[in-house]
Symmetry: C2
Subunit: 252 residues, 2 copies
Amino acid sequence: MDFQDFVSVNCVIFGYDFEKLNVLMLDRIMTEPASGKIIFTDKILPGSHVNFDEDINSAAKRVLFEFTGIDNIELHQFRTFGALDRLNRQDRDVLWLRTIGQDPYQRVVSIVFYSLVDANKYEWPIQHQKEHHQMYNPGWYPINDLPKEMAYDHHFILDEALAFLRDGVKYNPLVFELLPEKFSLGLMQKIYETILGRNFDKRNFRRKLLKMPFIVPLNEKQQSVLHKPAQLYYFDRKIYQQVRKNNYDLML
Amino acid sequence: MDFQDFVSVNCVIFGYDFEKLNVLMLDRIMTEPASGKIIFTDKILPGSHVNFDEDINSAAKRVLFEFTGIDNIELHQFRTFGALDRLNRQDRDVLWLRTIGQDPYQRVVSIVFYSLVDANKYEWPIQHQKEHHQMYNPGWYPINDLPKEMAYDHHFILDEALAFLRDGVKYNPLVFELLPEKFSLGLMQKIYETILGRNFDKRNFRRKLLKMPFIVPLNEKQQSVLHKPAQLYYFDRKIYQQVRKNNYDLML
DNA sequence: TCAAAAGTGTTAACGATACACCCATGA
DNA sequence: TCATGGGTGTATCGTTAACACTTTTGA
């Protein structure tokens, strides 16, 4: 028994596809060892154990990369889940853990991270995704139509993470991780509307954003769109940091 | 090596004493094993390992009780600290861990909880505090005049927890854990001023609070105070829950 | 009668909301 | 010329912020 056996990380990756909000999940496929016949399948959040010699952040990044090929994104720590029975509430989980050679009654504490990304950037399989993880078949599942069957306490974790995201997105610059370099205010509005599940008045929304000094207009407009081309803006991280240091409020 | 060796909890207990904001810390006293001569002393946050058969919450409560005698308070999970070198950045820590028979290069992830309490309720030693922990000598240390020498990454944890408290106190009903059953608005104002480190205009502050439906006036006033006795109020948890469910904003 | 905190009202500036029409583009 | 999303102004309302004096009590 070693450090790796007791501490794990999970990643809740929210992906916005310019239409709806999704979450990234993998397939968990339980097969009969002899015949290969499928006993059950359900969905599972990317996650794995933390190595002895890595920070928990690095572990989260590594695990996400190994399972999905997603690289170079910001992961934010969200919460740690450590209920006694979190791995053995369902028969499926007990069976699964026994089969992969783990004790279902072993304690595992999981540190959960989350992120918000552009779902369209990732279509699986991603090239450099490690071979043996391809079977996990990463995919986007819409928040409004989630798979019913999930491993362990992952449905609970996901629900909590979603609430956290919805709150966080109002006070933190999370959407800029998702927006392209150059974006229109209309796009930004659509993103907020999707994530928060409510609509904003266009004029009021723009007024508000335009007052934020870190949303800076470019000398550039949209090209070859079949409507009036929109003014493009960028997010100035330096100005944001400064404003944040002094002010400490802001955002919607 | 077992679960207990890898996962720990720490508690950052903020105590308001109606004058200033304090944090609860213990003495860490390193003595020469033979002579008993003191090699160094510094301060440490209450913390210990999580037992195999307890939830992380319960572990935090147990640990706090064992070290300080504090019982029956709300502990809120704050963040998990898992940097590789968090236990061996200072010579003191390495020496200490070796002496108590632990490997300074062992990984330990710590789940940190925090709370806000009335410091005057606790004066040490508390009766039912376990015998062998008395040597840790729990005490309140003012936030504005902290001990310089702290164990491990505890100064860092404390700083982060303080920022978290200051933010959280604006959106969560944390101050009601601290306020007596029946309180005046003047007291509430003093508490917010102390925690946030800035002053409010009395009239504006009261107007704001009085609009909150869960702050309910009693048929009762202060007694035998040497000034005009204040109207007393109580915090109605039920109304609060309901308002929160619908509204999801509020507080200062 | 004094000290100490309680309690109170108004104004001005700002932010939030509600609402409807014209504009530029490519197909 | 049409469909599409971009872009704009104003009025109302509620919230915030600034400000000074009177009241009640016990000592």
